[in-house]
Structure formats: C-alpha cells, structure tokens
Symmetry: C2
Subunit: 652 residues, 2 copies
Amino acid sequence: MLQESSVDSSGSRFAPLVVLELASDTKEEAIAWLLSRIRDRQQNGGAELLVEQLGPGIGLEEKENPNMFLVGASMQRLLCGAEDLGLFKECTDGSMRAFTFASKHNFKDFKGDGDGFLSMAECQYVIKHELDTLRAKEETNVPGYSHAKLYPGKSIIRRLLSKGILIQMFPLHENEELKRLSFSWYKKVKVSLQPLDDIRHYYGEGQALYFGFLEYFTFALMPMALIGVPYYLFDWEDYDKYVVFAVFNLIWCTVILELWKRRSASLAYYWGTLCRKKAFEEPRPGFHGVLGHNPVTGRAEPIYPTSKRHLRVYLVSLPFVLLCLYLSLYIMMIYFQMEGWALSIYDENPTFWTHILLFIPSIIYAVVIEAMNLIYRYAAEFLTEWENHRLESSYQNHLVLKVLVFNFFNCFASLFYIAFVMQDMELLRQSLATLLITSQILNQFMEAFLPYWLQRRRNKKMIRKIQKRRLYEEKELPLVEQVRLEADMSTYLGTFDDYLELFLLFGYVSLFSCVFPLAAVLVVLNNITEVYSDAFKMCRVFKRPFADPAANIGVWQLAFEAMSVIAVVTNCALIGMSPQVRSYFPESETQLILCTVAAEHVLLGFKFILTFLIQDVPKHIQDKLARLEFESLEALKKKKMLEASQLSKTVQ
Amino acid sequence: MLQESSVDSSGSRFAPLVVLELASDTKEEAIAWLLSRIRDRQQNGGAELLVEQLGPGIGLEEKENPNMFLVGASMQRLLCGAEDLGLFKECTDGSMRAFTFASKHNFKDFKGDGDGFLSMAECQYVIKHELDTLRAKEETNVPGYSHAKLYPGKSIIRRLLSKGILIQMFPLHENEELKRLSFSWYKKVKVSLQPLDDIRHYYGEGQALYFGFLEYFTFALMPMALIGVPYYLFDWEDYDKYVVFAVFNLIWCTVILELWKRRSASLAYYWGTLCRKKAFEEPRPGFHGVLGHNPVTGRAEPIYPTSKRHLRVYLVSLPFVLLCLYLSLYIMMIYFQMEGWALSIYDENPTFWTHILLFIPSIIYAVVIEAMNLIYRYAAEFLTEWENHRLESSYQNHLVLKVLVFNFFNCFASLFYIAFVMQDMELLRQSLATLLITSQILNQFMEAFLPYWLQRRRNKKMIRKIQKRRLYEEKELPLVEQVRLEADMSTYLGTFDDYLELFLLFGYVSLFSCVFPLAAVLVVLNNITEVYSDAFKMCRVFKRPFADPAANIGVWQLAFEAMSVIAVVTNCALIGMSPQVRSYFPESETQLILCTVAAEHVLLGFKFILTFLIQDVPKHIQDKLARLEFESLEALKKKKMLEASQLSKTVQ
C-alpha cells in the first residue's frame, strides 16, 4: 500500500488508487460537475467514489498541471463493485465462485472488513469500471463545453476522453509491492519459473497470460533446441538430413499449441476469468454515428450501419492491404535483382570495394523493410480507426489481422522466395541466421533499453529538482511527487507488439528451422532475455496499466494456429525438395510431387483430428465447471420447490 | 386430443400421454412399488404423475400383455415440469423466454388453466423426463428382483429397462392431430414447403430439423440441377467442359453448409431450443462400472475410468475399423480384377453368354457391399456398446463416426479408384449413374414400402379380429385397441439412417457430379420422393417417438463439412486432370500438378476464411440473445441494489 493516505472531503482518509488528469485549462464548472457526479450516491446515478485534488508538487509550479485528481473508494464500495463485475474468487472449499457481498465469509482470505481480500489491481479495475459506467442523466453537454454533447446513458468519461478534456486516467504503482515483484521476477540471479500469480496479482490476467505464454513457448522450444545442437555440431553442411527434423517440427508445432490451450484454461480457471461472464462492451471512445438506440440494451447510442463498415473494409481496406503486399513483393524482387547485379559486378572485378558492394543490397533492404513496417503500422491504425468499429475488441481484431498479414509477408517473403523459387538451401540458411540475429538485437534495444534510458533521464531531472529544494530523511518520494512522476511515464500500449514478436519468432522456428537447426537455440536465448527486458520495462519504464481480465490469448491463438498450418505445408515442401527424398524417385518428378502432396494432405488431416482429440479444457476443470453449473441449477430448483410449497400453504 | 379419457385412482379423469409396457410375468410387488413411486408426491421423492392400468382388449386375451400402464398428469404438474426442463416459449412481446409458472400470464397463448399451451409432444417429453429422473431412495433392489440392484439416486426406469422388466415406454399418437398433419404434409397434391412448425409441434425439434435440412438441401441442389440439364442435353459426351461446373461445385458446397447453420440457428431460436440449457445427461442404461460418486453431481453412480475406454477405442476399435477399411479396399480390387477378367473373356469370345458374364462382377460387388455394410453396422454397434460410453451422446458420436467412415469408403472407394488410378471418365460416369439410381430405388423400397406393407398386414389382422367380435358405430378404434395397436408398431430408431443417406447423396453430388451433371437432378428427384416416404413412415409405420429438443443437426454438420473439404480436393484433382487444363501445360506435367496443388490450397484457405466471415447465427437473433442476457444481468443488478438498500434501512 502507499505510504501516504489522503483525506477526502468528508474527512475520512482514503488510499488513492487511480489518477485522473484533466487538461490544465479545464473550466471550473466542468470540474465541479465531474467531481460531484463521481461523489454522488449510486441511487442518484453517481459512482459513489472518493475523489480529491492532488496538491501542488515541489517542482516548478508554472509547469505543473493543477488538475490532477486522486480517486479511491471505501472497502464496502469496492466489494460491491467487485460483485457487480462478477469477479471470481476462491472459496474456502477450494472452488471458484462469483463473489457476492452477502456470502463474503465463504470466501478464502476474507477477514474482518475485507482488507487485503481484493488485490490493488482488482480495486483499480473496479474503479475504472465504475468510472467508465458513470452515465449522463439529463445533461445535454459537459458544463462549460457546448461542443461536448451528452445524451442520457452516454458514458461521461468516454466523452471527456474523446473531447480531450480528460487527458489520461491511470492506476498508481504500489512501491513496496513493485519492489517485491521485481525482485522475484528479474532481479534474482537464479533461473526460476515466472512468478505468474504475482504478476497476475499486480498487473492482471492479460499480462500474466502473456508471460505465461512466453515461458511456455520457451520451454516448448527446449526439445527443438536440444535436437538442434547436435545437428549443428555434427551435420552442419549435411543439410539433406533435415527430413527427420522437419517431421518432428510438424508434430511439435501442432501439439504445443493444443497443450497451450489446456494450460491457458487451467491458469484462467484458477484466476477466475475462465467462466466470468463478460459485461456488455461499451462503444469505443472514437466510435461515431447517428444517435439511435442499441437493440440490445435499449440505451441511446450512436448507430453506424454494418453494411457501410463492410463496404469500407472490403472496398478500401482489403484492396489497400493487397496493394501493400504487392508493393512488398515488388521491393523484394528489386532486392534480389540488386543482389544479382552486385554479385555479377563482384564476379567481374573482385576487389575490396566490390566486395563491400555485396552487402549494400541487404542493408538497403533491411532498412526499407523496417521503414515499410513502420509506415504500414500507421496506415493500418488509421484505416482501422476509419472503419469505425463499435467495439474495442473488433477494432483490435481488425488491426491485428492487418498488421499480422503484412508483417508475415515482409519478414518471410524473401525466405519463401529463396527456398521455393531459387531453391538455394545454403542461402536460405544464411538469410535465416542473419534475420534472426539482427532482429533479435534490434528488438531488445528498441524495446527496453531505449525507453529505459529516456525514462531515466527524465526521472533524474525530476529527482534532482526535488533534491535542490529540500532533503528528505527517507529516500521514498512523497505521494505528490510519485503521482507526477508516474503521470510523465510512457503509456504501456498493451501486449500487441510483444505477441507480434513471438509470432514472428514462432514463424522462423516452425517454418524453416529444419534448414537451420540452431534457430530454436537462438529463439530460446532471445526469449530468456526477452523475459527480463519485458519484466524490466513493465516495472520501471511504463505507467502501470489497468488489469485486463483475459481468459485466453485471444486472436493470437488463432494466428499461431494459422502459422502452424502454413508450417505443415512449408515443411512438406522442404522435405519433398530434399536430395534424400528425391533419390527415392530417380526418374519421375511427377511421382515425387504427388507423393509429397499426398503426405501433406494426410498430415493436415491428422493435425485437424489431433485438434479435436486433445480437449481444450482439462477434464478436472471441466468437471469443476460442470459442478458449478449443476449446483446453480439445483439451487434454483430447490428455491422453486420451496416457493411452490409456501404458495400451496398460503392457499390452504 | 384422444377421444377417451381414463379415470385415475383418485377418481379424476385424465388424458393418457405415455404408455409403459412391463414384461407380462412381472411380479405383483414390483408393479405395486413402481406405481406407488410414480404416484407419490414430489416432496417424498415421487414423480407425482397419474397412472392407470390398461383394461383388457377385445382381442385374444391369452396373447395380450396385461401389464400395460397409461401415464398422464394434471395440467399444473405438466407446467411445473416444463419449468423444471427450462422449456422456452414465446412471450406476448414476441421474445423467447424460459417458461416459469409464476410469470405464466406473460406468455403468448396462455389462457385459463393453460390447456393447449403445451403441445402434446411437449407434455410427453415432460412426462418422459419426470419418469427418467424418478430416483431410488433407500431401496437396494427392485422388490421381487434381488438381481435388479438399486442405490440411492439411481434412475428407476433405467434400471427396469436394463433388466428387461420394463419392455418399452412410448408416447401415444394423437389421431385427429395426425390426420391434420399428414394431410398438410404428404396427402396434398400441390407442391409446397414442409409444414416445419407442425412437424415440430407433433414430433419435436429433432425431427423438424431433419425435414428442414432435407427441404433446404433439395432447394440448394436446384441451381446445380438447373445447370446440369443443359450440360446433359447439349454436351453429353464433351466432358472436358466440366471445369466451370467443378468450380461452381466448390463454392456451392461451402456456401450452402454455412447458410444452413444460419437457417438452423433461426429455426432453433423460434422453437426455443437455441439457448435452452441442457440438463445434466444421465448415464446410458447400458453403462456399467464400479459404484462411485459422480464428480459433478455428487450422486452415487457407476464409474468407469476414461483411460480404460481410451485403450478400448484406440487399441481395439480403431484397428478394427482400419482392418475393415482394408478389407473393403481388398474386395474392391478383387472386383476390378474380376471385371478385367470378364472383359478379356468377352473380348476373346463375344457371345451372348459372355456378354451376360460382363454384368456378373458388378452384381456380386453390389451384393457384397450391401452385406458388408450390414455386418459392419452390427459390429460397430457391438464395439461402441463395448467401449462403455457413459453418455448417450458420446455413444452416438462414436457410432456415427465408425459407420460414416466405413460407408464413405464402401460407397466411394471404387469411384475414387476409377477417377484417379484408372483415369477413365467414361467409366466413372457410368458407375456414378448406376450407383445413384440403384441405391435410390433400393432405399425407397427398404425404407418405406417394406415396413409399411408389414405393418399393414399386422394392422389388418388386428382390425379383422376386432370386427369379428363386435361392430362399432364410429370407425375410430377405442383407446384400449389403439394402445395395443401402437405397442405393436415398429420403433423409430432416430434420424441416423436418414442423415446417412443424405450424406452419401451429398457426396455423390459434391465429389463427382461434374462428370455426371445429371446427378443433382437425380438427387433432387430422390429428395422429393424421400420427403413423402419419410413423412409417410413417420405417420403410419412407426410408433410415435419422444420429442428430442435439438438445437442443430449435431455431428452431421461436421460430417457434411468434412465431405465438402474432400470435395474441394477431389474437384481440384478432376480439374487438373481435364484435357482442357492439360492443354495449357503441353510440355510439363510437373508444372500442371504444382499449379493444381497451389489452386487447391488457395481454395481451401478461401473456404476457411469464408467459414469465418459468414456468421453462424444471424445478426438479429444474436441481438435478441444478447438482449435476453443483458436483461437478466440488469434484473440481477437491480435486485442486489434493492437488497442493499433494504439492508441499510434495517441497519438504520
């Protein structure tokens, strides 16, 4: 918990959980209105939360934003909020049940008033939910801002965000807890499992699932890495031995993805997110349309016809993506031409300068690829925003799909070209190694060290500023300074880029690792450093993100599965092209191709059967879920029988 | 409703709904015990139903079974049972909601006591459910039968069935209703849509979905049939024009299956089965094992380890199926050898007798195939029984899978061999036509006319017997005779064989119809007669089956989808082999094969994308379902808020 507690307007002290930062020029009447709505009782449509303005810091006052507000709540309010959200907690009998205030004493670890029963991340999530669902009543606009329109049922916070009146809303870090977590996470020298429960406790389920997946993926790669080392040591040049490796690859990538589903279901069950019902998603802040009525909730809400969105997706976005893919292919062809041209110059006149010229195309290509990825990412975000999706989840899915397809093309097109058009295994191996190693180094640098360095410079300036003014006996920063420090930290943009990186690494391993068996070893090494750098950036570089109660890794599961299907096709083709297999069909190439295709179809069929046979949720968890449902049905039946017998008594 | 009503033990008249037939030598004490348990009040663990022994008929008494019982219930009991089952009914506002007795007046068509609110099929389903869930209390065995063990919580009816004490339990037909239904269904000369709502009303959702699918499938085939006719009329011998037809085939079979899912969801929504929660399935009557406790319900129940079942499935059943497939292939090869041998004899010495010899192999092969299908079916049933599945649904799935794979092989292996090994398109066309036409004629005969003829003979004997004794003024049979007549009717074994037949027809059309464009026309004709014969046998040949509240066609959807994937592969291969396409690659066969394979992969990918893009449930029904869920969440929230405010009042 934070060292300092604030005093709310009614005089009782409260622990601040969430910070609201309004624009520094926000009008007084808007602030007063917002605070009164947040403090108002639930019966009157308020959020019934505690809120207080942050005092001035010790920094340069003229630069500080005075409109920072700390939000907290009483323990009773938080527990009721947790019930509204349908949070699942462990009961004393070991089962997971939706928390209800009435049956609070049946839950494990519930003592006294319930202090410590909800983790700080859960409390912050409750507050975020309460703020998000604070709705306008009769107001037609935000007081003082006639252009910030409101209508009954509109989420106030979302309107403030979309109009730029609310700059940000973020949860506070918990210094003591963070120290403990970072020690067990990345400061220990000893190699150990990820402290997933602690990560979940501090950052929520979405983050914990990412680290769980990263850990699982690393372990899953171990057998590949172990087999890869002797391949590297003994058969380096004998790469027609890779048939065994490719077959292993095929089975491996199907099985690990299926087993991950089971592991993910287990984790989600014990974290209580597996069977939690999702609340109805609000429209995203950027969503716009004619005001109408939501057919599900009946609330007033902007309406945008699905047919129009479909037109935008299929007539603009899809052609744009295809055009970009074509461009990417075109640039790849230019690269190969340049390379051929450099090689011919070198062959004609092998001097030092022409030798250097050999590297020029690769360097240009690498830079162009990075630049294209960057530009495309912006274009994809713009387009997906323009498609005007109602839900954040739908926006995310469309964005992920766009970025994924393009990144896949950009990263793997040249490898596919080398493997299947040029059929040069030696070059494939070289390119793969170069791509893997450079992308790894670049990523680690861009992802953790650069932001950390920038952050450190900023922090130092701040701390120096404070120390200039006065000296503290304890080294801890006072609350006011901590809040201002955190407000300046970069915002964590979610696990998108982390998963994308893993996805591409998975591609390198599953698609082509049979020609470069050391790929798995490199990816394992990368993952180990990735864990540390990711953990580090979560703890030190970014603002704390709100918890995200995920039950699985979502659309990424699908992406990885699609990759594993492509891997089956690729590996079969590589096997078919190997000299070893070719020697079985000395006279007829047709025969060879037909056999390869047949084998591929059998393997694909086998893969789909395997997907059916391996159950997504382990049996013991299925049983527990069924038991919960059975109990609720039985309770309902019993209640009805009781009511019927009471009814018959009153009739008599 | 039935013309005659019986008088129950307490003196009030009741409409009989279900018949229980006990063995004629059942001990008196067992009968008395069973009747008292059925009549006992629910608080005491009884079923609280009305039951009465059927009086002696007018037939030969020495042959009649005296132990026939009629079961009925009061309207209030039936409505409560419908609530227990969670039946969905239409409300006055047009939405579908789970019926509750307390809010009965909110439901459409609920008048007075509720007479006519539940269809007779629903009433019978309620009674079946109540009888099935009649559980043993302290009894350790059925009175008078020390070997018929019972334990607390064991379903009494299931034990009686598995020990042969209860011969059968079946719902009664409703003569008036049946006449109306059969008139609108198959007696009208005018071609019209299937009366799906009436079928559902009389036979339940499972039957109605089958007829819905049959109708949908017939309509879906219309475009194929319409395109097929000009192909037949103008290009009969020019079968290298089939590329266009094959491409059409590919798209068609993907799209119709996806659209069927939407149609099925719509039907199930309006019939109230789409969102009905399934009750916990009881173990099947034949399931055995050591007595233990069900981890879900906590009830005493036989336990059989899953690992043992897996061993049986993978070490015995799977090898057996593979062996049968091998045998089937082997017999097919013998057939082709015999055919070659017959042909060579005819070529050497073309006389009348050797010409007849040409037909001998086909006839032998056809007979052997039928015999193998029959024997295999028994073997599959035996094996699946022996695998000892706990649930009826799991038993059905395993049985369907076994029978499906073998039937697919038996029916299509020779066609595949002709198409891809012999590459004789002329022969393929001939075989396809022969197979389609003969199987059609055979099926119609075996399925409807044979059982009808047998039934008719039996009925006539009975009616003659009655008329010999006395003459009725009205032509209607008295209740007693009707019950005995129906008890003698054949039992309808479910939609398994009907779906299997459709599945094979779908195979003929989607796999090979491009070489025989008239296939779709034949299948459409077959389907039209199939509708009539199926309707006829449901109304006149079989005992009325219990309603089966299905929300979709279950495992068959999967089977049809698997077939459509195979169809993509087959059609691509046929296209690749066509002289038209071959002429594009005059010198290189390798090039041709690679292009075909690439096209196939693109089509398969496209197919899967299409599966994702077409939503399984139409948008307006998704909205309605979401609205129901939203309302229940809101109601819960409101209730909690009310409780909280009451609590705070009492504290004050």
